[in-house]
């Protein structure tokens, strides 16, 4: 576990900055909640928006945007909080093998008595640990800072927990795809590209396909749909928001390691 511990230490400082960023995001979002709360005009405005737009911003029929579950789902879980964690996963994943191979630092580590598979796998585990820590930190700061703004009124507790677990699952899946891209190509770029395509494509498709009336099985191909399909904070926990993405994340990691074990280093 030497590689894992080293990977955690190498990324510790960056993690603190990310935590600061997410805390600020949570604080700003919560601080605006009192001005939105109970505003009927707001809901009327939203009703006039095209459905695709509403779906994209996580505004669901039957959940008032001026309620805590509606507001937080739209402002955090359907937007910046999720996107930021996914970006953290992609940037981290692409660097684990691809990035460090590209900047040349991987080779000397691999001259040590440690297998390529062990290096790649332990580094990915480290990223999962970091992602979990970041997600947990976001959850704790949100709950604590929500108290003075009464921003958790009507929020399903179990649903909130699953919302953060699902966030971790979705970010892990993207990290895994980015990891595989980097591990297969031996460069950071392909990893970033693979993760970004999944993220941008999935995020946009989630809104657009719903509006276009695409059949359910098509929409169900999209991991973002599994997570965003229904407001977890208003309607409570759904296992599909967490488990499939996490399970699926194992595939790209396994494929990436399988290729990385055998190929030439750059």
């Amino acid at each position: 576990m030497t590689i894992l511990r080293r990977a955690l230490r190498d990324r510790r400082n960056a993690l603190l900055w990310w935590m600061l960023g997410l805390a600020v995001l949570n604080l700003f979002t919560l601080a605006f909640y009192p001005t939105v709360r109970g505003q009927q005009d707001f809901d009327e405005l939203v009703q006039q928006m095209p459905e695709a737009l509403r779906a994209m911003f996580g505004m669901e029929d039957g959940v008032s945007l001026s309620s805590a579950p509606g507001y937080l789902w739209a402002r955090l879980f359907s937007s910046l909080l999720t996107v930021l964690l996914v970006i953290y996963g992609i940037a981290g994943g692409a660097g684990l093998v691809g990035g460090s191979e590209e900047d040349g630092t991987l080779e000397l580590i691999l001259a040590n008595p440690v297998s390529r598979a062990a290096v790649a796998f332990q580094r990915f585990l480290a990223l999962l640990v970091l992602l979990a820590a970041l997600t947990l930190f976001a959850a704790v700061t949100l709950v604590l800072m929500a108290l003075p703004f009464s921003a958790l009124e009507g929020v399903d507790a179990g649903g909130l927990g699953v919302a953060f677990a699902g966030l971790f699952g979705l970010a892990s899946l993207h990290a895994s795809v980015a990891f595989a891209g980097g591990a297969i190509a031996g460069r950071r770029g392909p990893g970033l590209a693979a993760g970004t395509v999944l993220a941008a494509g999935g995020f946009l498709a989630q809104g657009l396909l719903a509006a276009a009336g695409a059949p359910a099985w098509v929409r169900n191909l999209n991991p973002w749909h599994w997570y965003l399909e229904r407001n977890l904070l208003a309607f409570g926990p759904r296992w599909e928001a967490v488990v499939p993405a996490l399970a699926l994340a194992a595939l790209p990691v396994a494929a990436g390691i399988a290729v990385f074990r055998r190929r030439d280093l750059r």
Binding site: I3, D103, T105, E107, L108, L110, P113, S115, L265
Partner: protein, 300 residues
């Protein structure tokens, strides 16, 4: 062959192609236990590629390489190898301390006392980040990490480039000590003096092919060097033509230019008859010293 008796390095028909370029071509090599093997060749000859094949970073296109009878990628084998890369690429935020701790843990511990003595010998401040170090100091970190676990086999890629002469001496002493302890050294370089000072046997690589394999004494006998002798007056024709070892003579305004094979003793004695103002022996590079081998392989 039992693992205990397996040679530190053995390759059979080892070949690596990058697209249409053949970087290493049917290399057959056996390095004996306890020897310092000099692996010489100009830049681009394929030395680093050979080393990367030995360590399992690259897969051979054909043939095979074995370290102590096993693939170099085997962790049990890696534990017995110390590798000094041509260019130390490590996270610039790491200090030498981080590197020692990290690699030490991966190797199942290093000899603490010995590592401390290495830091002292090379006057290395272990607390400074690698990114702040000069090339020479980074080189020293490379040396410390390669030697600190007292490996059975040292694979050194162009080891003293970037070291000042004093440290080079210290480094050569270190290598000799480790060899005396029983270690084997594979020393890759593009300059002869570095190899000459340490190696007992030398292989010369050119365009991926092993063009010669000889003891260092043989090589010295066969090595050619250019000598420019600048004289006060004109050099009488015929003075050097018959001298032993002289392979070519060219007169110029300021004196004479010779190519001599092996010892230059006879040339120096013949030159005593002249008023010699300056002697110039250009280049320590293989290109100059091993004209013979290069000429021979260029003809093909």
């Amino acid at each position: 062959m039992t693992p205990a008796a397996a040679p530190p390095i053995a390759t059979r028909g080892l070949t690596k192609r990058f697209g249409r370029l053949t970087a290493v071509d049917s290399l057959d090599l056996a390095v004996e236990r306890g020897e310092v093997f000099g692996f010489l060749g100009p830049n681009g000859a394929g030395k680093t590629t050979t080393i990367r094949l030995l360590l399992g970073f690259l897969n051979p296109t054909a043939g095979a390489a074995a370290v102590f009878g096993r693939p170099g990628a085997d962790p049990a084998i890696r534990r017995r190898i110390g590798y000094l890369p041509a260019d130390l690429a490590l996270d610039p935020r790491y200090t030498a301390c981080d590197v020692i701790e990290f690699f030490g843990a991966l190797r199942g511990g290093c000899d603490r006392q010995f590592t401390a003595s290495l830091l002292e010998r090379f006057a290395l401040d272990p607390a400074r980040p690698l990114g702040d170090l000069s090339t020479g100091n980074r080189r020293k970190v490379g040396i410390v990490q390669a030697f600190m676990h007292r490996p059975d086999l040292l694979i050194l890629d162009g080891p003293t480039s970037g070291l000042d002469p004093l440290l080079q001496q210290e480094f050569h002493r270190l290598i000799r000590e480790e060899v005396a302890r029983g270690a084997t050294v594979f020393l890759s370089s593009h300059v002869l003096p570095e190899v000459e000072a340490l190696a007992s046997r030398v292989g010369i690589l050119r365009k991926g092919r092993l063009v010669t394999l000889a003891s260092i004494d043989d090589l010295r006998r066969k090595a050619r060097q250019r000598i420019d002798i600048f004289t006060a007056g004109p050099v009488p024709r015929g003075l050097f033509e018959a001298v032993s070892g002289v392979r070519s003579v060219a007169y110029h305004d300021g004196g004479v230019q010779l190519v001599v094979e092996g010892t230059v003793d006879a040339v120096i004695k013949a030159a005593a008859a002249l008023t010699v103002e300056r002697i110039y022996t250009p280049g320590q590079d293989l290109e100059d010293l091993f004209l013979e081998y290069y000429d021979a392989s260029d003809e093909t």
